[in-house]
């Protein structure tokens, strides 16, 4: 074959050089479909002269003599006809797109058409999340897919995101899904030192072609022991055959704080604080208290009561929260010619937070290149390089939260000026400001410096070789390389570091994660109706994580902020850790007559994290689909245009535990005596430790009505986590406090519903579509060890209740006669002083019970208006900031105006807010902000995205030689509806000093040549 080609080429050279006028060339090549299967019988002919033509052979190959300068037409049944300008090429292979537009879905280690899918896989296309001012794609998919719960941990740009697919299954092991970008299994651990640094922020979301979420075990079990929490596959854009496309993209905008809390003026605070002091003095029955005198000395005031009336109120929240800028620049070039296709892009993104000091800056570079080396051998490489820098809110990671403006700014006593008359900060050390919260938090922001720099390279190289017809071998090597450098400098001018004249803590870490996958894929169709697809593969992955850190204090002046200037080294540290995984896997799929599909998967997988006795396990799954609408009785039915039943069962594993928790070890960290290092046992040898098993059953229906004007799917699932990893207490007399064992069980049951409707599609071009999804989920701990009903050490884990159950004493309101807070005891009686051990009960659920989103898109002649709502209901959370904001003068700091106005004042008053009381605890009572009093409903629905765009019509652009121009304005988090009484209901963990979510407005332009 090669010889013939060479000969032909030489001949051709001779002919063209010797006989100028004779301009005939021989073109050969191959025609294949998107999956790389050859298309036999495709017609290849010269445009305008059908007499020069030939049909491809059984392997899809052709050879044809054509006049120079011709244009080839390639056409085949069920495929879109393609025209190719020959130019001076002699070898032209091409890929034909399916005529019947079958959606391509990326699944484990291959792609399939949507028709073939038997498991629960959801997909969103990159254009849906295009140009959202969000730093990581996990943020952008929030509310877009049923079954996937996405929660922002904070409003810090580039902050970690919590993603839960079909609920929370694990208590001790991780609950994060496996993220895979272009085949590279990522490490999504947050290594941020000073701030939340989401490793998934390395990827510019605009480079994404599609995101697939493998939700059930049938889809995910090919990833074995890492797939228990689902798998998210990200595919980035590739070049397509054709001339180079150059695209520019720019947007800018601003960030706005969503809300400030309503707080008291100096005079209102005086009223409530004096009430609190007087109430306590009266209740304690001691000598009468000079309440006004006590109050004045407390706020260091030496004037008359009239002057108190004139005290100004300063708004610290105004200084804490701020407007910020958003800028995003991108350029990409993509295309394909001959045997080569390419996509190259670069971007710069900058976004401020809505509070001081918080920002995000990222530069990325991307190159995806494919090269068809021979007819059988294809080479691909994907390269992503990225660096992002985040300035950090000082107290997010460490430091005293009392010095953090996100906590203290609404609580600082309002009579405190922020600045002195000369413009310098009020109340900085050795002085302080009035009240219990005595740090000038704005000065803290101005002086302290903290940041994280993350640099990342995610790259792969793939070679695929067609061994025989239908049999392809694919060899894949990928790497995910990351460094993180974090710094925190506490300035000597702030309270935290005044006595030690500055404190620097710094860390430098590196994570190298590589993997290789070797797969064989075989497809064959027998006698038209039987199609067999088999996948067999092996995989190896290793990760090494290491770093060093240091701490230094006593800096000569605040101008010196690096370690060499610190006089007193405090500590140095270093660590190294690693794991390995290996596995083989196989999948066989049988498709009969495009109606009945059966698929079975098996993975044999091992992880170094487990005990030597249980390192390897088998993860099977089986699934099937019945395309009912392909049956004769439904075929061509316009009402029910599509109907497909899917069912699956399978098992996956969870190995998200520490790297060395199963191995008997002696450690040395922090162990020293008399200036010399020491060792001692740190981990109990636990050779039986194994993975958690997630067993998922899925039953689903995909449907299309009225010629697919209405399309949707319903998935019902039961996900049972068996062999749940739990720490079982050991008697400490054994030298160890607990052992991790595979005991216990958790179940998630739910229904996910996706719907897409074309509501209006009028002839004049007006179109209105709606996308809607909702998930209902119920989580339940079904078994712990030793017949325990409650997990020792965590009262929120109770058999028969969801993980994250909120268990505390129940606050039930105020005694109208006395204004005292009342609670319920275990028998339901009203009491003042509940005891946690006796009276605590289940009062709430920390996880959302139903969530989802919906989008309405209106388009008309190039105009498009899209509004996307996202919602989460049934989540209770403690308002930990609220427990301070609700004190109403119980201690010397400010309070929430709503609580102030509703407080009990006179006997008989019916209210939910107890009377103010100094110290918050009435004699013989419990703290009035305790128990469930500050438990709030964190449910919300918000207009997450509102976009108005105009795309110029192609004929208008032709004159200026452009292929596309799009302009748009966009708002993020424009409206939020919630009962939550803090800054914002979207956070994970406590909300004490969390940076709240922000509102963003952007305008942008995209244009291409």
């Amino acid at each position: 074959m090669r010889k013939t080609l060479l000969l032909g080429f030489t001949l051709l050279l001779l002919i063209t050089s010797q006989v100028f006028a004779q301009t005939e060339v021989t073109i050969s090549g191959k025609v294949s479909d998107r999956k790389g299967n050859p298309i036999p019988g495709a017609s290849v002919y010269v445009k305008g002269n059908t007499s020069i033509g030939i049909a491809t052979d059984a392997d899809g190959n052709y050879s044809l003599k054509v006049p120079a300068g011709s244009t080839l037409v390639v056409t085949a049944l069920d495929y879109i006809t393609q025209e190719i300008v020959v130019g001076n090429r002699t070898f032209i292979s091409t890929t034909l797109e399916d005529d019947k537009i079958e959606d391509i879905i990326v699944t484990g280690y291959r792609t399939e058409t949507k028709r073939e899918i038997t498991g629960a896989i959801t997909q969103i296309k990159g254009d849906v999340i295009q140009n959202l001012p969000m730093q990581s794609f996990d943020r952008a998919i929030q509310g877009r897919m049923a079954g996937v719960l996405v929660q922002g941990n904070s409003g810090i740009p580039g902050a970690p995101i919590t993603v839960r697919i079909r609920g929370t299954g694990s208590l001790l092991a991780g609950n994060d899904p496996l993220f895979i970008v272009d085949g590279v299994q990522l490490n999504n651990r947050n290594d941020g030192f000073s701030t939340g640094a989401n490793p998934l922020a390395f990827l510019n979301p605009n480079d994404i072609e599609s995101i697939e979420v493998l939700q059930d075990a049938a889809a995910a079990s090919i990833y074995g022991s890492q797939a228990a929490n689902g798998v998210i596959l990200i595919t980035t854009k590739r070049g397509k055959a054709g001339k180079a496309k150059i695209n520019f993209n720019y947007y800018r905008g601003f960030v706005e704080p969503i809300a400030q809390l309503p707080i008291l003026s100096s005079q209102q605070y005086r009223v409530v604080r004096m009430e609190a002091l007087a109430n306590q003095a009266a209740a304690s029955g001691g000598a009468p208290l000079n309440v006004l005198g006590t109050y004045m000395s407390e706020i260091r005031f030496n004037g008359t009561i009239d002057q108190l009336d004139l005290q100004p109120s300063f708004n610290w929240q105004n200084e804490n929260f701020q407007y910020g800028n958003i800028d995003n620049y991108e350029a990409s070039v993509s295309g394909g010619a001959d045997r080569l296709d390419y996509y190259v892009s670069g971007s710069f993104n900058r976004q401020d937070g809505n509070t001081r000091n918080v920002d995000f800056q990222r530069g990325t570079f991307k190159a995806n290149i494919g090269y068809q080396a021979t007819n059988r051998f294809r080479l691909e490489t994907n390269l992503n390089l990225s660096t992002f820098v985040q300035n950090a809110p000082f107290t997010q990671a460490v430091g005293n939260f009392l010095g953090d403006g996100n906590f203290s700014s609404p609580l600082i006593l309002p009579m405190n000026p922020i600045y002195l008359s000369d413009g310098s900060f009020n109340g900085v050390p050795p002085n302080n400001i009035i009240g219990l919260l005595n740090q000038n938090v704005i000065a803290n922001y101005a002086f302290n410096k903290a940041n994280d720099v993350t640099s990342q390279a995610v790259a792969n190289i793939t070679g695929s070789y067609e061994i025989a017809k239908g049999l392809t071998f694919r060899s894949f090597f990928g790497i995910d390389f990351r460094t993180n450098n974090g710094r925190q400098y506490r300035d000597p001018r702030t309270q935290d570091a005044f006595n030690r004249q500055g404190l620097l803590q710094e860390t430098s870490e590196r994570n190298v994660n590589w993997l290789t996958t070797q797969t064989l894929n075989y497809t064959k169709t027998f006698s038209q109706k039987h199609t067999i697809n088999a996948l067999f593969g092996a995989e190896f992955r290793q990760e090494v994580y290491q770093g060093i850190n240091l701490g230094v204090d006593f800096f000569p002046t605040p101008d010196f902020t690096y370690a060499d200037a610190g006089a007193n080294p405090l500590f140095t540290g270093g660590f190294w850790t690693s794991f390995k995984r290996a596995g083989t896997f196989a999948n066989v799929k049988y498709d009969f007559d495009r109606k009945y599909i059966l698929s079975a998967t098996m993975r044999y997988d091992g992880s170094s994290r487990f005990g030597v006795n249980n390192r390897w396990g088998v993860f099977p799954s089986i699934s099937g689909a019945w395309l009912i609408s392909e049956e004769n009785f439904l075929k061509g039915n316009n009402l029910l245009s599509e109907l497909k039943l899917r069912a699956s069962w399978g098992q996956t594993g969870n190995d998200q535990i520490g790297n060395f928790v199963a191995r008997g070890l002696f450690g040395a960290g922090g162990i020293a005596y008399a200036g010399q290092g020491g060792i001692r046992p740190t981990v109990l040898n636990n050779p039986d430790l194994s993975w958690e098993i997630n067993e998922t059953s899925n039953l689903a229906l995909d449907f299309g009505l009225f010629k697919n004007r209405i399309q949707g799917s319903v998935d019902a699932f039961i996900r049972t986590t068996k062999d749940l990893l739990l720490n079982r207490p050991l008697p400490i007399t054994s030298g160890f406090g607990a052992i991790t064992q595979n005991v216990g069980e958790v179940q998630n049951r739910g229904i996910g519903f996706n719907l897409r409707t074309i509501n209006v599609d009028s002839k004049d071009g007006f179109r209105w579509t709606t996308d809607f999804n909702i998930t209902f989920i119920r989580n339940e701990v079904t078994r712990l060890f030793d017949d325990l009903k409650v997990l020792p050490g965590n009262t929120g884990v109770r058999v028969g209740h969801p993980i994250g159950t909120i268990f505390t004493t129940e606050y039930i309101g105020v005694n109208p006669a006395s204004g005292r807070p009342m609670f319920r005891d275990r028998n339901g009686n009203i009491i003042y002083a509940p005891i946690f051990a006796n009276d605590a009960r289940v009062v709430g659920d920390g996880f959302a019970e139903w969530y989802g989103g919906f989008t309405n898109t209106f388009s008309y002649k190039g105009f498009e208006l899209a509004g996307f709502f996202q919602y989460e209901f049934g989540r209770d959370a403690f308002n930990s900031l609220g427990s301070f904001m609700f004190e109403n003068g119980g201690r010397p700091f400010n309070s929430d105006l709503r609580i102030f106005e509703d407080r009990w004042q006179v006997p008989g008053q019916m209210t939910y807010v107890p009377r103010p009381f100094n110290g918050n605890t009435e004699p013989g009572g419990a703290a009035n902000v305790g128990g469930s009093r500050t438990l709030g409903d964190a449910s919300y629905i918000r207009l997450k995205q509102l976009t108005l765009a105009y795309t110029f019509q192609p004929n208008a652009l032709e004159r200026i030689k452009m292929t596309n121009v799009r302009v748009y304005v966009q708002a993020i988090n424009l409206l939020t509806f919630t009962k939550w009484q803090g800054f914002d209901p979207e956070f994970v963990g406590g909300n004490n000093n969390v940076v709240p979510q922000s509102r963003q407005y952007t305008v942008g332009i995209q244009f291409g040549f």
């Binding site: 092996a538 008997g664 960290g669 008399a674 290092g677 109990l684 040898n685 052992i739």
Partner: protein, 502 residues
């Protein structure tokens, strides 16, 4: 073509079957070593021994609580607030008020330490290339530490021999003498009788003594040598009311190289040196081991900074000298031994007013732990000093009927602590009967004040304990004399019985 396919397939299967072996998944940690190989050579054993000593520095043990909590549970200290029953930081308040459950907290750390020692003691005989001097040194020190741990446990969680309250007596503490490295080795022991625990402590100390007869030189006071072993032995025997042994081992300690007691004129300076010159056994602390402002002994006991006026604030000054209730420590410092007057107790030179900002300036703080290692909150902590041994001997002699001997040893203390007109004294006295015992015990309180002894000395003598804040005297028969065993351990071990009343 077919052959090529076959070859590739075969190679493929070969690779994947190679994957299936366990070695492929073996990752050796680098910041830790395998338990199986950690203790198989001399350097490993020595490192493990240092790891055991290091455990004593824990804030649950002698780094902080074993001393500070014992003082707060006794009548030596008071807090600033609520008439002496509450403290500036809130820490120690519960112990001062004898709130049920607020007690010593050493259980877990001591048993973790005991497992470390058991592992060392099991591993040492298996290391064949150790010289006898090294082997004996390592084993003797491990036995000493195990004896110390068991004694601290038994005196905290059980009644001392001779003063049992039968109704509340639940026995001693579990005796675990084999090491645990593997899940299969975990046991669920019951509490051994008190006498059995003491027998084991004696056995360990006897063995340690024997091994030290042929051992390398051990660098005291950071590491335990023969003086430390005998000194601990004399203390243990005193608690056991085995006065013959207490006397013999006390004398042995003094002969085995216990440092001499310092003269009265050097007393103040002795508490300003990094290493106390009277220390037989002392925990050294280095800069990275600074316990910090919350629970360091300096912060607990003082609020000022050494060398600075009391307008400069240092620690919290939570527990200061009792000058307010019951049998006041402050009065004791200012009371001369019977028959004397005008003597100045040099130990009172360590008393200083607290920091103005803490409201402690009218209170009396004892500055034994005062950043003597050159940094605030950084102090070496003596666990056994020579005067304790002398007082052990004197008490034993008293009970053995040797009043002359007891007077002689008491004189060694008095002469080394009192001055007259700024000069050293040589006092002449002959106390008898209860007056002698009382003065020995009074001197013990003064000498070892704020070093973690007072509560245990009251307890072993079956004494009631006065409480501040107008709270009633804590009767010796009260369940709060014994510490509660941590609930987690009771949950995990069905054979373990909680102390009465908890």
């Amino acid at each position: 073509m077919k052959k090529r396919v076959l070859n590739i397939l075969l190679a493929f299967f070969a690779i994947s079957s190679f994957y299936s072996c366990n070695n492929l998944l073996d990752v050796k940690p680098r910041t830790a070593v395998d338990a199986a190989t950690a203790l198989t050579n001399e350097v490993g054993l020595r490192a493990a021994l240092r790891g055991a000593y290091d455990r004593l520095q824990s804030t649950d043990l002698y780094g902080s609580s074993q001393i500070a909590f014992a003082e707060a549970l006794s009548d030596n200290g008071r807090g600033r607030l609520a008439n002496g029953a509450s403290t500036n930081s809130g820490r120690l308040s519960a112990q001062l008020q004898s709130i049920i459950g607020a007690h010593m907290v050493g259980w877990s750390q001591y048993y973790l330490l005991i497992n470390q020692l058991n592992l060392i003691l099991e591993a040492t005989p298996k290391v064949t290339d150790l010289s006898p001097a090294v082997r004996n040194s390592i084993e003797a020190q491990a036995l000493f530490l195990r004896a110390l741990a068991y004694h601290d446990l038994v005196k905290t969680y059980a009644y001392d021999p001779g003063v049992e309250v039968a109704a509340n007596d639940r026995g001693g503490v579990p005796l675990v003498l084999t090491g645990v490295l593997d899940a299969a080795q975990v046991t669920f022991p019951a509490r051994a009788p008190v006498q059995e625990v003491y027998d084991q402590i004696y056995k360990d100390l006897d063995e340690a003594t024997a091994k030290l007869a042929n051992a390398e030189t051990i660098p005291a006071p950071a590491f335990a040598n023969a003086a430390a072993v005998n000194a601990l032995y004399s203390r243990v025997a005193l608690y056991r009311r085995d006065y013959t042994t207490a006397l013999a081992k006390g004398n042995a300690a003094l002969l085995a190289g216990a440092p001499p007691i310092v003269a009265s004129t050097s007393y103040t300076a002795s508490w300003r040196q990094q290493v106390h010159p009277e220390s037989i056994f002392e925990l050294p602390f280095t800069t990275p081991e600074n316990i910090g402002v919350n629970v360091s002994l300096q912060s607990y006991f003082t609020s000022t900074v050494a060398g600075q006026p009391n307008t400069v604030t240092g620690g919290f000054g939570d527990l200061v000298i009792n000058d307010i209730y019951g049998n006041q420590l402050f009065t004791a410092f200012n009371t001369n031994p019977p028959g004397f007057s005008g003597l100045v107790d040099q130990r009172s030179t360590l008393i200083a007013p607290g920091a103005v900002f803490r409201g402690n300036s009218v209170l009396r703080e004892l500055t034994k732990f005062y950043g003597k290692n050159g940094q605030i909150n950084l102090d070496n902590i003596p666990l056994i000093r020579t005067p304790e041994v002398i007082l052990n001997i004197a008490e034993a002699q008293y009970y053995l009927g040797d009043e002359a001997g007891a007077n002689t040893n008491l004189k060694r203390i008095l002469d080394a602590r009192y001055t007259l007109g700024g000069s050293a004294v040589s006092l002449t006295f002959n106390y008898t009967g209860l007056a002698l015992l009382n003065e020995i015990l009074r001197q013990r309180r003064l000498e070892l004040a704020f070093e973690g002894h007072r509560f245990y000395d009251l307890k072993r003598n079956g004494e009631n304990i006065p409480r501040p804040g107008g709270l009633p005297v804590l009767q010796y028969t009260d369940i709060r004399i014994l510490a509660p065993i941590p609930q987690g351990d009771l949950d995990a071990n069905p054979n373990l019985v909680q102390n009465a009343g908890y």
